[in-house]
């Protein structure tokens, strides 16, 4: 059985920037069958290629760009690139996803996956032109913003090259730096710093090779059903095209789950001013698809049309950015939120972490732990728009106090020992936009997420806050809730390995994805449950990597605020997160031991031993 013609090209491209050695190896069939691609494949490669406890910024750590069998086909949202490496922010495995058209182009170049190791002597760019690889020096590009560098590359190489780039923040190894493509980003966890550590400014790719699937007729039928289902689902056909991901903001606020002022509360009194509806009325001028074949078009283009930042064009802001610079900093100024987003995009940093850092600084300032003289004279009061913009600029440019702040909430809190209980981070990654005291499942999701606090790993908020498929009680923390979270986590791992966009799950179920995967790959998965097990395998593999790096139960924790401070407002006023109970249920349901380490039997049952 060859993988070629089954949604795969069957080839992995290895580039070592130190030796400039380039080699191609075939993708192992068993690995493809057991892990599909994307997240599964990327983590497997990371596990195999990296030595334990290596510094994430060491040349030996691979930076992996993985596609999946559905990449470049007619499946909806089929050009999300999965970036896998070791996170400089957390030291855990890092998988992050980015829209744009890089993934499909990489596949049309003849590669399923690109693995970069080593460190170039001088700033470099990798150019892959229809399979031919060239490493070129790029001193001219070093220092440019993300948009500028992409523009320069298109100018010199040609319009149809697709790129992944870093901004100045990645160059100076900021642990909150992302990798950007066409205004989209693999934002979280610091993949941009890993790329910067390799002295790699950009990758440009263009390809003419066709992608073939196993049973083209059947696949086309199933892709049609998937597209039609997305066109007929309320969330993906109406809400998200109109209001972007911020369509949920008002409801999340009503539920008391909209993080406000560094998670002190779950209700923001000015939520309506920063809702999707309000952004649509005032700022957004257009919706577009960030990725190939995306019918959802949740991406928005905003133009700031008044005030200091007038004329600035921004991609976004999305829900997470709005929460992070908005409610979480006590800010309701849409222009400021959009401008903060713009600076982050230009310099190439993650908006969630940046907002998290600023909210934390604002609380330190409120409590008198940090003074304006420590902040280059900035008075970091809640809701202070000027402070927000100045801090974002400093963090983005790594200037003044920004040099320290860019290290993230965890490292900042180490300097102020009393502050750890409201240092809103898990494993070193800043907490995203759902208050777990108002949605217990999200607490579990943050604690067990392999890359630190991430909302997309087991999105229980869909049921807990949005009423998806009949909803689930947000305050429950029993076995049922844990199983619900596990379902979401496995499902997401399948989407991430396929690779599709998470938002397809607002219309599709695992069934529609299964129905595409089978005619695409020709793999004889018996039913959708078998794919769910594949998801479990991927999650367990990620866990194995983290365990090897020394992570375990001691790290699956939440900031003390979530565990001890009762939620002050909202329908679930008075709640704290019951993490311990959920965690032990989680380990047992996963077949991991009490310390959160996957048991031998589980590994055998999941056939992981066969590929490790």
């Amino acid at each position: 059985m060859s993988l070629e013609g089954r949604g795969y090209t069957g080839k992995i491209l290895y580039i070592d920037l130190t030796t400039e050695k380039i080699k191609t190896e075939s993708l192992d069939k068993k690995v493809a069958y057991l892990l599909l691609g994307g997240k599964g494949l990327g983590i497997w490669l990371l596990y195999k290629l990296s030595r334990p406890r290596e510094n994430p910024l060491s040349p030996n750590i691979p930076l992996i760009f993985a596609t999946g069998p559905l990449t470049g086909t007619s499946a909806p949202t089929s050009s999300k690139i999965c970036v896998v490496t070791k996170s400089p922010a957390t030291g855990t495995v890092l998988d992050s996803y980015c829209g744009g058209f890089f993934a499909s182009e990489l596949k049309y170049s003849g590669y399923d996956c690109l693995v970069i190791t080593g460190r170039a002597e001088r700033p470099s760019i990798i150019v892959i032109d229809n399979g031919e690889v060239d490493i070129r020096t790029a001193e001219r590009l070093w220092g440019l913003t993300t948009v500028k560098v992409e523009e320069e590359i298109r100018k010199s190489l040609g319009e149809n090259f697709k790129t992944m780039v870093i901004g100045p923040a990645g160059e100076r190894l900021s642990p909150i730096a992302g990798i950007f493509s066409n205004l989209r980003s693999a934002g979280r966890g610091g993949a941009g710093a890993v790329m910067g550590s390799k002295k790699l400014k950009a990758i440009a790719v263009r390809g003419k090779e066709p992608v073939l699937v196993y049973d083209e007729r059947k696949f086309t039928k199933m892709a049609w059903i998937a597209h039609r289902t997305l066109r007929m689902s309320e969330m993906t056909a109406r809400s998200m095209p109109a209001y972007g991901t911020a369509n949920i903001l008002s409801v999340v606020n009503e539920s008391g789950a909209l993080p406000t002022r560094n998670f002190k509360s779950g209700r923001f009194e000015k939520a309506e001013e920063i809702s999707g509806k309000s952004f649509r009325e005032k700022l957004w001028i257009r919706s577009y698809s960030c990725s190939l074949n995306c019918p959802i078009a949740c991406s928005k283009i905003a133009i700031i049309n008044e005030g200091k930042f007038k004329g600035t064009m921004v991609d976004g802001p999305d829900y997470e950015t709005i929460f992070s610079f908005g409610s979480n900093c006590g800010i309701s100024d849409k222009n400021a939120i959009s401008y903060a987003n713009y600076i982050c995009d230009m310099y190439g940093i993650d908006t969630i972490s940046t907002g998290g850092i600023i909210a934390f600084v604002m609380e330190l300032y409120e409590k008198g732990l940090i003074k304006s003289q420590d902040l280059d004279g900035i008075k970091a009061t809640w809701g202070n728009v000027e402070a927000l913009i100045r801090l974002v600029e400093k963090i983005a440019k790594g200037e003044g106090v920004g040099k320290f702040l860019q290290l993230g909430v965890k490292r900042i809190s180490e300097k102020y020992p009393d502050s750890t209980k409201y240092a809103m981070q898990v494993k070193g990654l800043e907490v995203p936009g759902y208050e777990p005291r108002a949605a217990q499942g999200m607490g579990l999701c943050y604690a067990v997420s392999e890359r630190g606090a991430c909302h997309l790993r087991a999105y229980t908020a869909g049921g807990e806050l949005l009423g998806h498929l009949g909803g689930i009680d947000p305050s429950s923390h029993n076995r049922l809730k844990v199983l619900y979270a596990i379902d979401r986590q496995d499902e997401k791992a399948v989407v991430d390995s396929s690779v599709l966009c998470f938002f397809t799950l607002f219309g599709l179920t695992l069934k529609e994805i299964y129905q595409m995967i089978v005619p695409c790959t020709g793999f004889n998965y018996e039913n959708e449950m078998e794919l769910k097990i594949l998801g479990e395998r991927v999650i367990t593999l990620a866990r194995l990597f983290n365990v090897r790096e020394g992570f375990g139960k001691k790290d699956d924790k939440l900031p003390e605020r979530f565990l001890k401070e009762p939620l002050p407002e909202g329908p679930l006023k008075g709640q704290t997160v019951h993490l311990d109970q959920m965690l032990s249920e989680y380990y047992s349901a996963r077949g991991w031991d009490e310390e959160g380490i996957p048991t031998k039997e589980k590994l055998k049952q999941l056939k992981l031993m066969e590929i490790l």
Partner: protein
């Protein structure tokens, strides 16, 4: 003939056992949604079309008895329960726990002039006790319908804490069978999105007629009609459509289309009407979201692989930063036909699309040079130009474009 059978026969068409039901009971559960601000006027408009029955809440059955009491009025199906299950994120607080209560005794529904009754049956409760209690209520209701001779329609839907993406069809199949065992006379279920799985549902019903619910309004008419054809093929006995009908521009003609599909076995093309005349592609650039699915589908339908490089149209970014896009398609200007020295390129005499006789083509590329908008490319491997042949009258780019930015226009 028993009273119940008489009533059942006025819901399901006597000749073919099928039916088209218009549901307007949404206000009960969703509030005054679009199209149902005024149920009476909506109904009056819709009833100009053909249908078999209307589904309402007890309150509307009472209020609008003057409509349903008329000779020749459609059969009346009245809801006997209420639930919060569909309250979604458009509400201040979406549903967090599925609740269902009976709100009318079947005897009362008879007094309201009901031809049939309808209740929900949910499979997916997190708590087994709640699932038991719910089943017991449904069973009680069906039994009492039987006693008064009222056919009972059971609307089976997997909602609740146990529902996952992987078990949806299994839970639906289970629920359908449980409803049949409880004595349901008609079943109503959501569409499973494909024929194969829907056949499983019909088969689990063991001969009890299965109707399919329409769900939220589709953004495209063709999508909602297409699923009707599919579910009929899978063995369904008809449809229960609400929002699809009363939120459409013309509810009565939409009902007529449904009726023609369900009772007359017509195809989607027959009810919508196809052009069948010389036509060409027309681009509406302001609608384009830049997803490039047209390029992907074009390459697939002219080969057997995904290779946008060989696509016969292209999406241009007119203003990169602003994400403005414009699909560039063949306009059938005829320059290439004129430039072709061998006559290999021709326009189809009937429908007017481009045709290439590969045997007569010498690969001289004159056509490529002649194309004023550079949409005609040359395939170096095959040695022939990549022409837009309008997919012989059924352009796939038009069919797949999610936002209808490429459409057909009569020449």
């Amino acid at each position: 003939m028993r009273r119940k059978d008489v009533r059942l026969n006025s819901i399901l068409n006597l000749n073919d056992g099928k039916c088209v039901i218009l549901a307007v009971d949404h206000g009960f559960i969703f509030g005054p949604i679009k199209g149902l601000e005024n149920v009476e006027s909506t109904l009056k408009r819709a009833l100009k079309g053909r249908l078999d029955a209307v589904m309402v809440s007890p309150g509307q059955a009472k209020r609008l008895s003057h409509i349903f009491g008329k000779r020749g009025a459609p059969a009346l199906i009245v809801r006997g329960d209420w639930s919060n299950a569909f309250r979604d994120k458009t509400y201040a607080l979406p549903v967090r726990k599925v609740q269902e209560v009976l709100i009318a005794h079947p005897k009362d529904l008879i007094h309201l002039g009901a031809t049939g009754a309808v209740v929900y049956f949910f499979t997916g409760y997190g708590d087994e006790n709640e699932q038991d209690q719910h089943y017991k209520r449904i069973k009680w209701f069906i039994e009492n319908c039987e006693k008064v001779g009222l056919p009972c329609q059971v609307c089976v839907i997997p909602v609740g804490e146990r529902v996952t993406g992987a078990n949806f069809v299994d839970l639906l199949e289970l629920g359908v069978r449980m409803a049949v065992e409880a004595g349901a006379d008609i079943l109503e279920v959501p569409y499973t999105q494909d024929i194969t799985t829907f056949k499983r549902i019909v088969s689990a019903a063991k001969g009890v007629p299965v109707l399919c619910a329409g769900g939220p309004k589709a953004t495209r008419l063709r999508d909602s009609l297409e699923i009707v054809v599919e579910l009929l093929e899978a063995g369904a006995s008809g449809v229960v459509f609400g929002r699809q009908v009363f939120q459409s521009d013309d509810p009565s003609s939409f009902l007529n289309m449904l009726y023609a599909l369900v009772h007359e076995g017509k195809s989607v093309d027959e009810v919508i009407g196809i052009l069948g005349r010389p036509s060409r592609l027309k681009v509406l650039p302001e609608k384009c979201i830049g997803c490039r699915l047209c390029e992907i589908i074009c390459s697939l339908s002219h080969g057997n692989s995904f290779s946008p490089y060989k696509s016969r149209l292209r999406v241009e970014e007119t203003q990169g930063m602003l994400k403005k896009f414009k699909p560039v398609v063949c306009t059938l200007c005829g320059s290439c036909v004129e430039a072709c020295p061998t006559g290999a390129l021709k326009l189809n005499p009937e429908l007017g699309y481009l045709q290439l006789n590969e045997e007569e083509c010498t690969g001289c590329k004159k056509c490529v040079e002649a194309c004023p908008i550079k949409v005609l490319k040359f395939d170096e491997e095959a040695g022939i130009p990549l022409i837009c042949d309008g997919c012989s009258g059924n352009p796939q780019c038009v069919k797949w474009c999610p936002v209808e930015a490429i459409v057909m226009e009569v020449r």
